[in-house]
């Protein structure tokens, strides 16, 4: 085994895993507050990637600078989607119905993206996308390092929002128990709408990094969503810290298995860990027991 490849695998895993964690955080936030399994999260990531691509190609806006436009845009798209489709979803079937509704939304967005951008694969380009720098004998691609830093900033921002603000307390209360939160005067409906917006807004930076590190078209979303769902189930549905840890853990493990053993088993290892963890802790690493019961 080549030690250089091993080091690379760990570095790749941590750097890439943090971006997946960022994308998965939006998904788990939406589930935690609203009991909605948003299978459209993958296509929203691709929508974020296409928005960054369009800003870069047509207006020459750097993808990172473009986030100042794409994050608010996707936030308001999220708000609009929540208000249009999820306000009326109630009752015990809400979670199951949410899968159908979000799947329908993903199909509409996929079809629209195919019409606008065609199915030809594209990739976001910038000076740092293919460049790297050497540190301690290891090549660090700029895009992954920038992506890691951005994910750290975004997740820290989310942490501050959740744990250092009054609105964050409302979200956490809703995450813990929606009925109790409503009883103490929290407008759970408003919190839900904003959380959905935040969850979708987080796909903008995730999508930008994904689009700069992969060629993509609208159909790429199918590969993404299975991975994102695995991450949040492993971390614990509704657990933000769980999504972060599971994202980094899963991708690093996958990369290490690929290098140490064989790439054939790398994807399998991703799901094998999920099965093992769930057999011991059905609620995931950091999930609430009630999340499974519900």
């Amino acid at each position: 085994m080549n030690s250089s490849a091993l080091i690379h695998a760990v570095i790749d895993g941590v750097l890439t895993g943090s971006v997946y964690a960022l994308m998965a955080t939006g998904l788990t936030l939406i589930f935690g507050v609203m009991d909605i399994i948003n299978v459209a999260q993958g296509i929203f990531v691709i929508l974020g990637a296409y928005l960054s691509y369009a800003l870069s190609v047509h207006w020459g806006i750097d993808p990172f600078v473009g986030l100042a436009i794409t994050i608010p845009t996707l936030f308001f798209v999220g708000i609009a989607v929540e208000k249009a489709f999820f306000g009326r979803l109630k009752g015990p079937e809400k979670t199951a119905m949410s899968i159908l509704v979000t799947y329908a939304i993903s199909l509409v967005i996929e079809g629209t993206l195919n019409m606008v951008f065609t199915v030809n694969y594209v990739q976001i380009q910038a000076w740092y996308v293919n460049k790297s720098f050497r540190l301690f004998g290891v090549w660090f691609p700029y895009i992954y390092v920038f992506g890691f830093i951005m994910a750290a900033i975004m997740l820290s921002g989310l942490y501050i929002l959740l744990y250092r603000t009054r609105f964050g307390a409302s979200i956490r209360a809703s995450l813990a128990d929606q009925t109790a939160a409503a009883l103490v005067g929290i407008d759970v409906r408003r919190v839900s709408t904003i959380c959905f917006g935040i969850g979708i807004a987080l796909t903008a930076p995730g999508g930008m990094i994904f689009g700069a590190t992969n060629t993509f078209n609208a159909s790429t979303s199918y590969d993404l969503i299975s991975r994102l769902l695995t991450i949040i189930v492993l971390g614990g549905m509704g657990s933000l810290g769980g999504a972060l840890l599971a994202g980094i853990l899963m991708v690093t493990l996958e990369d290490l298995v690929g290098v140490i053993w064989s790439p054939v088993w790398s994807t399998l290892s991703f799901f094998l860990v999920l099965v093992i963890v769930l057999s011991v802790r059905p609620q995931g690493l950091f999930g609430k027991q009630s999340a499974r019961v519900a």
Binding site: D12, Q123, P141, T213, N214, T215, Y222, G258
Partner: protein, 417 residues
């Protein structure tokens, strides 16, 4: 007892209804497959399942363009035996299970007269097995993996060169280089796809010990993140890389990771991806494409008169340049051409007669060149070529000495230069 009697009556009625329905369906479908007659002036309907979404969507859409281009040409010339051609295209979302459902529906519900193949070996095998049950011929252009031919089907005909031969010219060129210039090391990395693995395995056999293998691995077809695999290949620092890829994203991911690792192999060939013309250039950039190689049996600047006509029509309709025309277009177009010749020769749309005719050993022609099927449905009349991107042009470089071949760009220029 009364309840039992009711149950028996209900069971009996259901059984009779089911048997009647099955018999009617069987009569209808076998009629569609073997009758071969169509009312005067009525269209001949061709059923096709294509990957209009999912992993193969870029290829699926290109195939759709190729089939439609052919149908438009045939209809302009008066149709097939005077019947206008109507394409019944449904999407399989790149799913091997959906493709089965689609062909069942096309034959038993839509009653199509003929069928054309889907995209990829992965989907062609279940599709061919399905239409075989109804007695239909399946002419296709993208199911050249050994698994399709090993299935023992008599109804499948691949108009393209079998993929196992794809890397022959490249292997021959590599091993024939003088020892002083011949690369010393090679890496093989492939998706475990039924199309790519046989190609790479065949290349390994042909190259043998002429070059030292420093990396040899298979990655799952469903992989989406290639960074660590590509980094491992880069760390092995082989002078030649053979990549078994099915699409542009896979090749692009390896190219990006190699550039980030400051690793440029002297020769880099991928089984698919660089053949997608403008779509490949758009994804990776013209400068990065320089020196990238891909095996194929057709290219946009081919001097074949039929091909030149098709390319001109394509460029007129969709824009772009001859070099940017996706090879999938030609494969799909060739499928239509071969079917047209079989229909003309058999003077009808009887699938049994079409199958018999295509097995007769007759040499047919297409935009991709000659077509002659062996008993397994492989096209034995075509030649494998290696193509390379040189300064934003897609040119033939192998077999060495072929009239259309230009000098190979070797060693490959550094990324982005």
């Amino acid at each position: 007892m009364k309840r039992k009697g009711k149950l028996f009556r209900a069971f009996g009625a259901t059984s009779v209804a089911a048997v009647t329905a099955i018999t009617m369906a069987a009569t209808t479908t076998s009629g569609a497959a073997s009758n071969g007659t169509i009312a005067k002036g009525a269209p001949v309907t061709i059923g096709i399942s294509l990957s209009l979404s999912g992993d193969f969507s870029a290829d699926g859409l290109a195939y759709q363009q190729g089939y439609k281009l052919w149908a438009a040409d045939v209809n302009r010339a008066g149709g097939l035996l005077g019947h206008p051609v109507k394409l019944d295209i449904v999407s399989d979302a790149s799913s091997p299970t959906q493709v089965v459902t689609n062909y069942q529906k096309l034959i038993s519900t839509d009653h199509v007269n003929l069928t054309f193949g889907p995209f990829s070996t992965l989907l062609t095998l279940p599709a061919a097995q399905t239409v075989n049950r109804y007695g239909y011929a399946m002419i296709e252009g993208a199911g050249g993996g050994p698994s399709v031919f090993q299935a023992g089907l008599k109804n499948v005909f691949d108009v393209t060169l079998p993929v196992a031969y794809d890397l022959q010219p490249f292997a021959k060129w590599l091993t024939s280089l003088p020892a002083s210039t011949r690369p010393k090391t090679i890496s093989y990395v492939t998706s475990n796809d039924p199309f790519t693995q046989p190609v790479v395995q065949q290349a390994q056999k042909l190259i043998g010990k002429s070059l030292k293998t420093v990396y040899n691995n298979v990655f799952p077809a469903e992989a989406t993140d290639f960074t660590s695999i590509a980094d491992a290949v880069a760390a092995a620092k082989a002078q030649v890389v053979v990549l078994g890829s099915v699409d542009v994203p896979t090749v692009s991911a390896f190219m990006q990771a190699f550039e980030q690792a400051h690793y440029t192999p002297k020769a880099f060939i991928a089984t698919a991806g660089p053949d997608q013309g403008a779509a490949f250039i758009k994804a990776v950039g013209a400068k990065n494409a320089d020196g990238m190689m891909v095996p194929n049996s057709w290219y946009g600047q081919s001097k074949n008169p039929q091909s030149m006509k098709m390319v001109a029509e394509y460029v007129k309709q969709y824009g772009g340049t001859a070099a940017g025309v996706n090879a999938d277009i030609a494969e799909a177009y060739a499928v239509g051409q071969v079917m047209a010749q079989a229909v003309t020769a058999t003077k009808g749309f009887d699938n049994a007669k079409i199958i018999k005719y295509l097995h007769s050993g007759k040499t047919l022609n297409s935009v991709q060149g000659s077509v002659k099927f062996n008993s397994l449905g492989m096209n034995t009349a075509q030649t494998a070529y290696t193509f390379q991107w040189q300064g934003a042009k897609f040119v033939e470089v192998n077999p060495v000495g072929d009239p259309g071949a230009v000098k190979i760009l070797f060693p490959k220029p550094a990324w982005g230069n």
